[in-house]
């Protein structure tokens, strides 16, 4: 699957906001052999940033050990309807994707 799109959802809980993100990414480890018997080169997301109303809340560094098409949940303190949540990632090839969602 090609690296690219992102799906996310921000749900208001009690005292916090649950942020779920699904990223489309192959997360190749560099240790797997393709159908031609050659190693598939490593290609994985390295950095994830979660911002709330433009302010960074979580910064993640991840490795090839994260499953393909990564899914993450984070929790933001408080949160109100209309708050803007942005998530972005950058991978080993420098490709990057951004997603945003408003707390409903």
């Amino acid at each position: 699957m090609a690296a690219g799109s992102m799906k996310m959802r921000a749900t208001l809980g009690s005292g916090y906001t649950d942020v779920r993100v699904l990223m489309s990414h192959p997360m190749e480890t560099g240790q797997r052999k393709g159908p031609d018997g050659k190693l598939v080169p490593a290609h994985f997301i390295q950095n994830i940033t979660v911002k709330v109303n433009g302010k960074t809340a979580v910064e993640g560094q991840i490795s090839q050990a994260i499953s393909r098409n990564p899914v993450f949940s984070f929790r933001i303190k408080g949160g109100a309807k209309g708050d803007k949540i942005e998530v972005s990632w950058i991978d080993t090839l420098g490709e990057t994707t951004k997603g945003e969602s408003v707390i409903a």
């Binding site: 993640g60 560094q61 050990a65 994260i66």
Partner: protein, 152 residues
């Protein structure tokens, strides 16, 4: 002759500008990735690179994960830190070729909580290390894997 030399130089100059202007910001962003810790082949070395060796075990660091994972390619792990002032959480799968799977830094406004899916090559201890007030705390949970996740 000279004209050709000029254009060649100009082209080289443009290529240099492109390379330095376009590639540099990417490199700057990628610099926030702890290469030493993620490249470490043992959990001990990874923790050393994170500056987190000698973490005290804590009951306030909770790991929720299946005891037996049927599919090592997708093992869900949920981590909650009830340690006051937690600023980061790292996840290590001890028997993976590169044990460090992820490190999350939590700023003001985020709760020290994360749920993620990791790949596990074989049955292993999963170690979670939290940082709070410059000190490190650890919790461990064994997860049994019936089918490894390294085949992709």
């Amino acid at each position: 002759m000279n004209a050709i030399r000029r254009t060649t130089l100009k082209a080289a100059g443009a290529a240099f500008l492109l390379a330095s202007g376009l590639l540099h910001p990417l490199r700057a962003l990628a610099a926030a990735w702890n290469k030493d810790a993620f490249g470490a082949k043992t959990a001990l070395d990874a923790l050393k690179s994170l500056g987190a060796s000698g973490a005290a075990s804590s009951k306030d660091l909770l790991i929720e994960a299946p005891q037996i994972a049927e599919n090592g390619a997708v093992v869900p792990i949920e981590i909650t830190s009830n340690i006051p002032g937690t600023t980061s959480i790292s996840v290590l799968v001890e028997k993976n070729p590169f044990p460090l799977a992820a490190k999350f830094d939590f700023m003001e406004g985020a709760l020290p909580f994360v749920k993620l899916n990791v790949k596990m090559g074989e049955t292993s201890d999963v170690r979670v290390v939290a940082e709070a007030g410059g000190k490190y705390f650890a919790a461990t949970k064994e997860i049994k894997v019936t089918i490894g996740g390294c085949g992709g």
